[in-house]
């Protein structure tokens, strides 16, 4: 039962990563839940928000509340400048060539649907194939099923191995002359697996297929360079990058976005409208119909600035240390089974303990102030693949420390005692 000697490691990390200062940037970490200090291990579901992001959102409403791209008045211009500054920051984060390649959406889900609908209405023909993997989030499965049913395309699924890695041989064999798009998750939200998306993109392009990368998890824990990956599209959600909810990003190579028809029509996405004909606005405005989540976009821009100040390489290095520590501690608990043991793995640990149901584990940990996710994590096919109904999932981020992992281990041991 013991998890020593790694238990009771000092709170302070050995690296120069300023985790104490970071923790003080996130006011919610000072809160108690159920009478206990909060141990937040659910950043893969949504990351906490630093004070500066909250201030950026409220700052918009308090100081420059106005619509964007419309008024000539002072506040509207200031709001537009802030909004477009966020676009430039996101461009920098992803190393896109130009800000026009950054489209603001309501989230990664909307962005994938935007590409699915746009491709279905333009290049996809009945019998064409979209290739995904067995570890996709439901948001990268359902949109393709919808256009499969409406447009007669075929949806192919590349298998995964017992350790939760993509079976690259099987993947390569599934690429064929009818493959039009490969849509693949960068980091699996339920297994933690880091997929070799650069290799995937190269293989797909050899077959003249487009590539969409779901970077919802990866964007917050490692450098993501769209030019290096050479993907055609990439999506992520702001709230997993310490930004507000309800805002996300579709990156697309400029020519891909220009060729993609818009999915939603309305104001701001047009150049001119008569009852006979509408001329669409240029990219990216073509995809931003209606008043956007302006406060969300501004908050996201501030969140990007926050992670840039820390440095994505530093964040990745710190989270690798946390992951190694958590793997070591959890592996020391008898009857604990890790689901997802890929060689390349983010700090996302799905696990089961004996025959304790994941929801019982979740509630028993909740009582100790430990917040983690239990369930299928919107990846039911992954659960089916491993013949399980649900897992408990601890996900670690920039504000987590070894002590959080120790608390989790203690909580698991306590749960085992209660349920034995």
């Amino acid at each position: 039962m013991s998890v020593s000697p790694v238990m009771n490691a000092p709170l302070q990390e050995s690296t120069a990563f300023p985790v104490d200062r970071i923790r003080s940037d996130f006011p919610i970490l000072q809160k108690q839940v159920r009478g206990k200090p909060l141990t937040y291990l659910d950043s893969a579901a949504t990351a906490l928000k630093p004070q500066c992001v909250v201030d950026a959102v409220s700052g918009y409403y308090l100081e420059e509340s106005a619509n964007v791209h419309r008024g000539v008045h002072y506040l509207s211009q200031r709001a537009t400048e802030s909004y477009e500054a966020s676009r430039e920051r996101v461009r920098g984060l992803l190393n896109a060539r130009q800000p026009e390649e950054i489209v603001f959406t309501s989230g990664a889900t909307a962005a994938i649907n935007m590409v699915a609908r746009g491709l279905a209405e333009s290049v996809l023909q009945p019998g064409d194939e979209v290739l995904i993997t067995h570890m996709e989030h439901h948001s990268n499965i359902v949109p393709w099923q919808m256009i499969r049913d409406s447009h007669g395309i075929n949806l192919k699924v590349a298998p995964i191995t017992d350790s939760g890695e993509l079976d690259m041989d099987a993947f390569a064999e599934l690429l064929g002359p009818r493959t039009r798009l490969v849509s693949v998750v960068h980091v699996s939200n339920s297994l933690g697996t880091v997929n070799p998306v650069k290799t995937i993109a190269r293989l797909a392009h050899e077959h003249d297929a487009l590539v969409l990368v779901d970077a919802a998890q990866s964007v917050a824990c490692m450098p993501v360079d769209v030019r290096d990956l050479d993907c055609d599209f990439l999506v992520f959600s702001g709230h997993k990058l310490f930004g507000p909810t309800g805002v996300g990003v579709l990156y697309g190579k400029l020519d891909r976005l220009e060729a993609l028809p818009p999915w939603v029509g309305g104001g701001d996405m047009i150049l001119s409208v008569t009852f006979e004909k509408t001329t669409y606005n240029r990219v990216p405005m073509k995809f931003e119909a209606g008043t956007a989540n302006i406060a969300g976009v501004i908050g996201l821009g501030r969140a990007v600035e926050y992670v840039n100040d820390l440095g994505m390489e530093n964040i990745a290095a710190y989270e690798r240390q946390l992951r190694d520590y958590a793997m070591e501690v959890l592996s020391g608990i008898s009857d604990l089974r890790l689901v997802g043991t890929a060689a390349e793995k983010a700090a996302i640990l799905s696990f089961l303990v004996g025959d304790i149901h994941a929801h019982d584990m979740g509630t028993l940990l909740d009582v100790e102030g430990i917040a983690l996710r239990t369930g299928h994590h919107c990846t039911q096919p992954v659960m089916d693949r491993f013949d399980i109904a649900a897992t408990a999932r601890a996900s670690l981020s920039i504000y987590n420390v070894r002590e959080d992992v120790d608390r989790l281990a203690e909580g698991i041991l306590h749960a085992k005692k209660v349920m034995q």
């Binding site: 149901h357 994941a358 019982d360 009582v367 100790e368 239990t374 369930g375």
Partner: protein, 155 residues
Amino acid sequence: MTDTISDDIYQQVILENNRSPKNFRRMEHPTHMAEGINPLCGDAYTVYLCVSEEGTITDVSFDGRGCAISKASASMMTECLIGRTEEDAKRLFEEFHEMVVGNALGDEERAHLGKLRVFAGVWRYPARVKCAALPWHAMQSAIRGDSTATTEDSM
């Protein structure tokens, strides 16, 4: 590590019923049966009933898989229902549901619920109310003649 939870949701009676559930068996010739499914976690139980022509429940059993709360709830439900009428079962579920969502109970309801009151702490964990109610939903569906109940149906 505190043990406050055992006063709360994981009471000893619940843990015992999870470990050794009562009437945990498939019934060969039920007059009514239905499956209860929680699509959020994949938990699934089948509840079997034998109801006499006069409307009295003469036997109840269940099988399937799920968490400690749902399994203990199913176990204790089967114990409480044997010998009751269909009408009584419906009323008991309504009272049980009131309790697990945290509404105050009158003296008569408290007496009626008897040992099912060990589930009174569930309301503090709203995500788990569905677990406690799942076998009851299945039982109600079986009596109504429906084949399936899910926790996403309203009561």
